[in-house]
Symmetry: none
Subunit: 415 residues, 2 copies
């Protein structure tokens, strides 16, 4: 039988003790017979996305899980989101991650996600796309998942050295930040910051009058009347997984960030309308798609966003329920081990403790299951049980390399 | 009493669960009362030669164990093998690791090791040594352990950027690979590849007619009728252990690779005809030689190859027996603790799971024993028991530094 591997990533899985569960984490409180079985039959450990104490975003966490050194290949979330919506960045393009947001008339951020709106974003984006800025720089604007969108500035002598106008979750209720050059002495950075500001101002005017927003206001919903920007970046060349290890990979995901990283790193993307990158995703359909993808791919990564959503919204019980649904879906993967010499890894891109509503640097639990892994004494999958695991404490890069080594595709360094 | 340290390296020790032993590894299945005692009285852990998930060769694994960063000092196995046979490379020399092999008339590799031949290699090597190549480049050719040999090209404007003709274990049965420049635009690389090819072709002609081979064919043995090349490299300057830590080291070994690394790093080499770098080595005589070497040396490293040989040949029971013989020989080292304030480390350079017949990136178990080490709860020496050890998961470089720190010879970083 040919060797195959599946990595199941529950975004923001890691947590801290929760009073709701007598000090257990969401994962520890969840009923997870399949994960527990895999943990008991496999090898376990704690994983840091980059290194202990380093807090990462979903993009950086996934670049590391996909086997890249974010310190080398990462420059801003913009280019990743652009790849996620299928935009092919040209040399010189500067891409921003954008949020449709609700901002008051005096410039305070009422809702960074405009009520996590889902409908009408394509129409809103179309109203902003192709805008021509004062010096001839062209705007490319695309809606992504839910409130997320991508802004690309396409013109001459642009710079990615532009600060964020989005202050992040802790800035909600406060003012929109000014878009400033990150390097005052760079004329290109000053100019790009001014062009981005011009776009944001004109976009606000267009969005205020847009029928989608008029209807939202009529329905009592927060209007998507503003575009918050962050993560300005340019495209950097990356060697694909296929080039590096001569294997084929597939990624089952819906969130544009993950889809973007998968595309940038040469994974085939498997997506579907039933995959929502939220709590209401079809958890089981994703697992089924992963099993299908195993036929033609050596490595399949499944991304589940629900855990992170529930954590950011401080809904520990929904987090538990989502984990339990993922656990049930693991049945399909375990059954696939009848057809392949299969390795299964279950882990996360970073911790998002519910009571913080934000990412933390806590390591995440990881399990690795397969016919010839060295077992350890761990009997269940959780932040605390995994401490005693045979993998010890390792980085996300090291986990992917370990998985690739079990697949037998790593290179030997030395004679 | 003066402080001394011995490191016992069982090459390719680490393994994965073996069905022959109900899922135990060879080390776990072996009866090892001495190792178990040292583990119970010492501190234990899991060790990665370089880093988790990185698979290494014996040369790189040992450079790391000897305290060097292979990413800085390693450039090909050739120069190490040259040092191993006592060849002093000159600036400009390019050295290759060579194998006497059996190749069919249509260029397929029948046996990469010509039946692991042991006799007649000095005569075969002598017939190839001193060959003058077409442009005046001179050949230096020496036999090493068993089927192994060293080719040095000595001439003007040579380059180590030449690919391997040896496809490795998985290439047996397939064709000899062409020797090509690794950098097409380098004239020196192109020329060196051509010179190496010229040598190989002329060598095949000489070997075919050689009496040693005629006799092998008569006896039904595979003839050593071809020279496979790999690991082209040049000498790189290295600071010796004595220079770095002001201590004296000895290495008890027979395999040319290990002997070469020991010489390059300033260890005195202790070898003997009874040491064969194979399963039939005199295990106990090596331990006795190590005890003798302790009189004049602060650090003694003993290398046992048998574990790796048994693993590459998929002979788990022979691996177990060899480990048990090493365990018995440890008595001598333990007794030496009456005369010295002695530290004993037992570990490996990399894993070679028997059913893979190849190196893997699995970490290896390590134990460190001595009067003042902090003990842990580990009660026996094995891949799984060591998970719970007080050393955690560390790199080979870190292990050597830890050992040197117990010897009291490390430098304090800071005031």
């Amino acid at each position: 039988m040919s060797r195959r591997a599946v990595m199941v990533v529950m975004d923001g899985l890691g947590d801290r003790p929760l009073p709701e569960f007598e000090g257990r984490t969401a994962l520890e409180a969840a009923e997870t017979p399949n994960m527990d079985r895999l943990a008991a039959e496999g090898v376990n450990g704690l994983m840091d996305p980059l290194a202990p104490g380093v807090r990462v975003g979903t993009d950086v966490g996934h670049l590391a899980l996909f086997g890249y050194n974010p310190l080398r290949v990462y420059w801003g979330r913009g280019p990743i989101e652009a790849a996620g919506v299928g935009l092919d960045l040209r040399p010189g393009d500067v891409a921003f991650r954008a949020n449709f947001a609700t901002v008051s008339t005096d410039g305070r951020i009422l809702d960074r996600r405009a009520g996590r709106l889902r409908e009408g974003t394509a129409e809103l984006a179309a109203a902003l796309d192709s805008m021509l800025l004062s010096d001839g720089t062209r705007v490319v604007f695309r809606a992504a998942t839910e409130h997320r969108a991508v802004l690309v500035l396409r013109g001459e002598r642009l710079s990615p050295l532009v600060s964020d106008s989005d202050p992040g979750p802790l800035g909600e209720g406060g003012p929109v930040l000014p878009l400033l050059p990150r390097m005052e002495e760079s004329q290109a950075a000053r100019r790009t910051a001014e062009l981005a500001s011009e776009f944001v101002e004109r976009a606000a005017g267009i969005l205020a009058e847009h029928p989608v927003n008029r209807e939202r206001v009529d329905r009592g919903l927060p209007p998507a009347n503003y575009v918050l920007l962050r993560g300005a970046g340019v495209r950097r060349p990356m060697r694909s997984l296929a080039e590096r290890f001569n294997i084929s990979g597939a990624c089952v995901a819906a969130e544009c960030t993950i889809v973007g990283i998968a595309r940038m790193t040469g994974f085939d993307v498997v997506t579907d309308e039933r995959f929502t990158a939220n709590l209401d995703t079809d958890v089981d359909a994703k697992a089924a798609a992963a099993v299908d993808a195993l036929e033609e791919h050596d490595l399949v990564i499944i991304h589940y966003k629900g855990t992170d959503i529930a954590s950011h919204d401080e809904k520990p019980k929904e987090k538990v329920r989502f984990i339990e649904r993922v656990d049930a879906a693991l049945e399909r993967l375990i059954s696939a081990a009848e057809r392949y010499d299969l390795y299964i890894a279950v882990t996360s891109d970073h911790s998002t403790p519910c009571h913080l509503r934000e990412h933390s640097a806590d390591p995440v639990p990881v399990l690795l299951w397969g016919g010839d892994v060295l077992t350890d004494g761990v009997r269940s999958y959780g932040e605390r049980p995994c401490v005693a695991g045979g993998l010890g404490r390792l980085s996300a890069n090291a986990l992917l390399l370990t998985l690739l080594d079990y697949l037998g595709v790593t290179y030997r360094f030395g004679g």
